[in-house]
Amino acid sequence: MSLEARQRWFARMMESGLEQKIFAPSDVLVHATPDVLATNLPPELLSKVLAASLAAGAMTPERVLETVTPEVMSQHLPHEVLWDCIARAAERAGVTGSGRS
């Protein structure tokens, strides 16, 4: 499979997960930690995140994800991180069969 296809797939899953409230922006940032974001996001995006937060007076997960959209995440963040987020959400939903919810 192509990298582009995988990126689009992960973007779609992240978007759907947020839309369906399978996981929340805060859940995403549990995996896409500040360290992960700082390491993988390009400078212009980091700048944009900070600028938006400064303008709003606060940096919240929701605000971060306004800039770091699912597309951006799938493009810049390791897909393992995104998958962890999805897998953890599925676990919470009780569909993994692992017994943890």
Binding site: R8, W83, D84, A87, G94, T96, S98
Partner: protein
């Protein structure tokens, strides 16, 4: 969260995966097997599926998935199965093998904050996905092969050794000298070697190829030793078998009159031994006489002169 939400998520995930070539219909049918579909799909959808399959020149996973539709699949197939499928697709997309992800670690990841969520985050991708796929795939059965091998292999060799307590190498040669017959004669050998007995069709002892091979070589060695009849007792004293077997061969025959598979072998072996032992017994007597004389002469001066 509502099941509708997770269902919609599954629809999006599978639909986009199929659309983007991340997954194939085969991936879905691999988990949503016909058996699963038969249990969970409504009859109207089954009717639709059967009609489509009958009309199509070829029935394959693509036809099944396209006919049922991803939304209906995700709506009716249990979420655990859908997740197992999605987890397999996801892990494959990440270039990870299911085996690597397999271990469903109950323990919390080392790093991370106190929240349990961090456990997943700290261990990138390996923890969550694996558990489901493995359980669904059932790759564990492999372990069963090992025990079966272990059971089958060892029994044969051990069965011959049955000489019970004494497995030490030294006693074995002593037997060969004394005679091969004693081994088959002992009942306990048969009982101890349960595996060979079961394997043997007719005679419990001879039937096992391994047992026959070991005995014969020993029998060939016995004839050479003329003295063995007497020396045997000491050797047998070392082993519990030899003592009783060699000494009582004659009486055992008479005692074990009732014919059984094991007894028959014993009789044949004993007869052979007697034939071979008769000449040996004569020689032994001669040797004993000579030896006594030699000692007496040794005490006297005459023998010393003779030897010189």
């Amino acid at each position: 969260m509502a099941t509708a939400a997770i269902t919609k998520f599954f629809v999006d995930a599978f639909a986009s995966a199929l659309e983007l070539g991340i997954a194939s219909p085969d991936d879905m049918i691999k988990h949503a097997t016909p058996d699963v579909l038969s249990k969970h799909l409504p009859r109207p959808i089954w009717a639709k599926l059967i009609a489509a399959c009958l009309a199509a020149p070829r029935t394959d996973a693509a036809l099944v998935v396209s006919t049922i539709g991803v939304p209906d699949l995700c709506e009716h197939v249990p979420a655990t199965i859908l997740w197992a499928c999605l987890a397999e697709i996801g892990t494959r997309a990440l270039g990870k093998s299911l085996l690597a992800m397999a271990p469903p670690p109950p323990a919390v990841a080392p790093t991370g904050v106190s929240d349990s969520k961090l456990a997943v985050g700290t261990s990138p991708g390996t923890q969550p996905a694996p558990a489901a796929p493995i359980a669904a795939s059932g790759s564990q059965p492999v372990m069963t092969h090992i025990p079966t091998r272990a059971q089958t292999e060892p029994p044969a060799p051990l069965g011959e050794l049955p000489p019970v307590g004494s497995r030490t190498p030294t006693p074995v040669p002593a037997r060969t000298q004394t005679g091969s017959f004693p081994r088959p004669g002992t009942g306990p050998v048969v009982s101890t070697t349960a595996p060979p007995a079961s394997a043997s069709g007719g005679n419990g002892l001879r039937a096992s190829s391994a047992g026959a091979s070991t005995r014969r070589p020993q029998a060939a060695a016995t004839p050479t030793a003329t003295v063995p009849a007497e020396p045997a007792p000491p050797a047998s004293g070392g082993r519990e078998r030899k003592g009783p077997r060699t000494a009582p061969p004659g009486p055992k025959r008479g005692a074990t009159a009732p014919a059984s598979a094991a007894d028959f072998e014993i009789d044949t072996d004993v007869s052979e031994w007697k034939q071979t032992s008769k000449p040996e017994a004569v020689v032994v007597d001669d040797d004993l006489v000579d030896w006594a004389q030699a000692e007496e002469t040794a005490t006297g001066g005459v023998d010393l002169e003779r030897k010189r």
